[in-house]
């Protein structure tokens, strides 16, 4: 900084109006005499909080006019995009509902591998991992055997062998050409013709399949993709297939077709239910049927452009100002596609809650949500593919009580409609605000994590024990185990609400098939539960007569009340309102609230509850409060002087 010169003291008293200048119309008029620095600061912090940015010169000019009504201005901003973003930010900072996970399932993930065609040129072939096929040399594997291609081809594995040409006859026998959903808007038509970037004139600007899905190795447009015949099946109902292989082959027997491992054996279910119907959009469809594939236009599957994770679509890594203002546009793995949209769904739910000024308790209790094309695709078919593995042993071959009932998905949404969002008024009887969204359930993967998140985020309480000793103990009940009980006496009953939603998943375990206390799952003479029971029931709470559903022991009653019961019980607590008031007030004041703020918080709590838990009423009261007006501008000196 240069030294301060002796310049005439004109600046201290300079009034703009006294200087004839060619300032344009956007320049603000002279400040009104009654606008103090404190007034300007109040207007600026209110703009920052409610508009989401500093005020412009024009807005400052309007503020300076004598007819400016601050109350009316505040009212006009409540419900606006800046206000909505501001409140959503408070809860996203707490919930952090963005994915750092890959969601992949062999039922819907398509891999791609080249085989050498009759002319020696590579031909791209799409396939699913673990696809059941009738020929034993390719059952559960790629649809060409190593003897036919010269190469052992497995997903995510390096090739083994030297490629050789495949005859046209074999190529036609094993694969078919399909016009898939990611390339054709009208993929459901008998002969799709509206190809992306061609006859499909107005694709959603945010729907961008990567070039490697749209072009072949010579950069020519892909008109149709080649896919293994079984995967191309459009059947909705398949049939349980049993190969007759029930025992492992002798160790010295070479697997057929040059495959590196023997073909899969029939599971007991397949043997017992051979030929029976099976839903193709379930995990069971993949596991048990050879005639279940990816559906019409492959809409039950998502492509990858490689034999590993592969890229599928462009979408941003960073968009802190929302999807309309991305900071980048990156090629992304297909395994991140659905988690990306789960996060957008959660933000959308919060945005709607604040924009429509709904009862804030709906954040936990609400049944509504919003879905776009990818989420419609997910809820319609992909979510079912997470079930059923071990659940099948309990008689659940497909989800019978999904958290989002697939028939509630709007029918007119196609997977490419990424910018079109439609409201779903009621997701189903088990829906409970954000608690039953895939994003929450995957972010907080265990029942305890879910219970703790609710406790922290919506009751403003934390699990910090004042006892710091853990004594050796074999007591499995953490509610009574010394050292653990201080926190777990509260946490376990909270976690129990989530016992019916599988960990790291969103599969709902209905009471009919999965009683809290199972008499069929019990400890064997070695003190162990069998494999299927062990996945869902807790050996620590089992004996030779039965076992308890995992995470339910803390409160079987809560477990049967499900997350919807958690939502009902949590929102009924007085701490729910006080926590919301404390979070929003603290955020707007820009500091943690203290005991000195108790009178303010008490009055705000009254406003919030009386308004029916409406955030607009709360924010209106905060912004008009003296505490807010003084916030960020309060020093000991000003406080003492009473200014």
């Amino acid at each position: 900084m240069p030294s301060i010169p002796r310049i005439p003291a004109i600046f201290a008293t300079l009034v703009l109006a006294s200087v004839p200048l060619a300032l344009d119309a956007t320049s603000a008029p002279p400040p009104s005499a009654h606008r103090t620095l404190e007034d300007y600061r109040h207007f600026r912090i209110a703009a920052i909080d409610l508009l989401g940015r500093a005020p412009t010169r024009d807005e400052i000019g309007a503020f300076e006019r004598s007819d400016f009504d601050m109350d009316r201005w505040v009212e006009s901003q409540l419900g606006g995009p800046g206000y909505v973003e501001r409140l959503t930010r408070i809860y996203m900072d707490v919930l952090r509902l963005e994915p750092n996970l890959l969601f992949v399932n062999p039922s819907w993930q398509l891999y791609r591998h080249d085989v050498l065609g009759p002319d020696g040129k590579p031909v791209m072939v799409y396939y699913r991992e673990s696809q059941r096929r009738r020929p034993p040399e390719i059952d559960g594997e790629f649809c060409f055997s190593p003897d036919e291609t010269g190469v052992v081809i497995r997903p995510r594995q390096p090739d083994m062998g030297t490629p050789k040409n495949v005859t046209q006859k074999l190529l036609d026998e094993r694969t078919v050409l399909v016009r898939p959903w990611w390339l054709y808007r009208d993929y459901k038509a008998p002969s799709p013709s509206q190809r992306y970037g061609d006859a499909w004139k107005d694709p959603d600007p945010q729907y961008k399949p990567v070039e490697t899905l749209r072009e072949d190795a010579d950069h020519q447009p892909v008109v149709a993709i080649r896919i293994c015949r079984e995967e191309s099946s459009a059947l909705q109902i398949g049939h349980v297939y049993a190969s007759g292989r029930t025992k492992p082959p002798p160790k010295d027997e070479k697997p057929p077709g040059g495959r590196f491992r023997p073909p899969p054996l029939d599971r007991p279910y397949a043997t017992q239910h051979r030929g029976q119907d099976v839903e193709c959009d379930t995990r069971s469809g993949l596991d048990f049927a050879t005639d279940c594939g990816c559906g019409v236009g492959l809409e039950r599957c998502v492509p990858g452009d490689a034999n590993n994770a592969g890229n599928a679509f462009y979408y941003p890594n960073h968009m802190p100002l929302g999807p309309g203002l991305p900071l980048d546009d990156a090629r992304q793995s297909s395994q991140r596609w659905f988690p990306y949209w789960w996060s957008r769904e959660a933000v959308r739910m919060l945005d709607d809650l604040f924009a429509s000024d709904r009862d804030f308790r709906e954040v936990l209790t609400g049944k509504r949500t919003f879905v776009n094309g990818p989420l419609a695709q997910f809820y319609r078919s992909i979510q079912q593919s997470s079930c059923c593995g071990p659940e099948a042993a309990f008689g659940m071959l497909e989800e019978t009580e999904p958290l989002f009932v697939p028939t509630r998905v709007p029918e007119d949404l196609q997977p490419q409609d990424v910018s079109t969002w439609k409201e779903v008024d009621d997701r189903g009887p088990h829906a409970a605000g954000i608690l039953t969204t895939p994003m929450f359930l995957e972010k907080y993967a265990s029942a305890r994590a879910r219970g703790a998140a609710v406790y922290n985020d919506f009751l403003c309480k934390s699990f910090l024990s004042d006892v710091q000793s853990l004594e050796p103990s074999k007591e499995p009940n953490l509610m009574i185990r010394p050292g653990c009980k201080n926190c777990h006496a509260t946490l376990e009953p909270l976690a129990a609400y989530f016992a019916r939603v599988e960990p790291s998943s969103f599969v709902f375990l209905p009471q009919a098939q999965f009683p809290i206390h199972s008499n069929t799952c019990k400890l064997d003479k070695n003190g162990k539960l069998n494999g299927n029971c062990n996945a869902l029931y807790d050996a620590a709470f089992a004996d030779d007569k039965g076992a308890t559903l995992r995470s339910a022991y803390g409160s079987p009653e809560h477990a049967d009340q499900t997350p919807a019961g958690a939502a009902r019980d949590i929102t009924a607590l007085p701490e729910f309102a006080t926590c919301a008031v404390q979070r929003v007030t603290s955020s707007f004041l820009g500091r943690p609230t203290t005991a000195d703020d108790e009178p303010l918080l008490a009055s705000l709590n009254q406003v919030f509850v009386r308004s029916g838990y409406r955030m607009k009423a709360l924010v209106r009261a905060i912004v008009k409060s003296d505490e807010y007006r003084r916030s960020n501008n309060l020093s000991s000196t000003t406080w003492r002087s009473g200014r």
Binding site: V19, D24, R53, A54, I60, G324, S636
Partner: protein, 240 residues
């Protein structure tokens, strides 16, 4: 040596030699009269809520920045800030997003609420890019055209008189910038602020007039750019 003295030495020696006597006898503290402590000074307890100015959230910073850039989308602002002149004024938003203090919910990284060296450097870099591109947009005439009218200028929304600028002509123009960045008239700012900025303007203009090699900004442009830098980096711009 007298007898009592010799006996005392013997007792000491015995005490040191005997393990049984190694431990001190229990200490007894008898209650005694309370001694009134004397006041040595009075320090009033300050119970005022201690509130510090806080940083504007990074979302607000970025939205304000984009609005100052003419209401552009981030990628468009990035394109314009990078320019095609090899000025290397701006990298990419992806390079800045964590430095600006944005949270990363995917990794559970919370938002930054305090500055750090990298953040300050990022503010600096973004501010310089904004001011320099605004100079080019607002004050320069494109080939075969004229500079935008003052009402169409993003930052420097005033005309520039021909010739040197004196303090009286500087002040209202500075006020436009002061309102743009800090949200209130310069007349309400601490005394001497306008004077300090005018001196900065004069110094930069003088330095650039002597600069060799020449800067890509004219002396007058460099003077206004420096004023802009000072305001876009001003604590009052970043705090609220």
């Amino acid at each position: 040596m007298s007898m009592p003295f010799r006996r005392a030495w013997a007792l000491v020696a015995l005490a040191l030699a005997s393990p049984a006597c190694a431990a001190s006898p229990p200490e007894h503290v008898y209650p005694g009269p309370l001694v009134q402590l004397v006041d040595r000074g009075v320090i009033a307890e300050d119970t005022a809520p201690k509130e510090d100015l806080r940083m504007i959230p990074p979302e607000v910073y970025m939205r304000t920045y984009l609005q100052l850039f003419g209401g552009l989308a981030p990628l468009d602002a990035q394109k314009r800030a990078r320019g095609g002149d090899g000025g290397a004024l701006f990298d990419t938003w992806d390079d800045y997003v964590s430095a600006l203090g944005f949270p990363d919910y995917r990794l559970d990284v919370p938002r930054q609420t305090q500055t750090n060296a990298l953040m300050a450097a990022t503010f600096e870099r973004l501010g310089v890019a904004l001011c320099d591109r605004a100079i080019e947009h607002d004050l320069r005439a494109p080939k075969g055209g004229e500079a935008p009218a003052p009402k169409d200028r993003l930052i420097f929304a005033f005309d520039l008189p021909a010739g040197d600028l004196d303090a009286r002509a500087f002040a209202p123009r500075f006020d436009v910038l002061h309102r743009t960045f800090l949200g209130y008239p310069a007349s309400l700012a601490p005394p001497q602020r306008t004077a300090r900025f005018f001196q900065l303007y004069l110094d930069i203009v003088a330095d650039h007039a002597k600069a060799d090699p020449k800067s890509r900004l004219s002396p007058r442009e460099a003077g206004w750019a420096a004023v802009c830098y000072g305001l876009v980096r001003h604590p009052e711009f970043h705090l609220y």
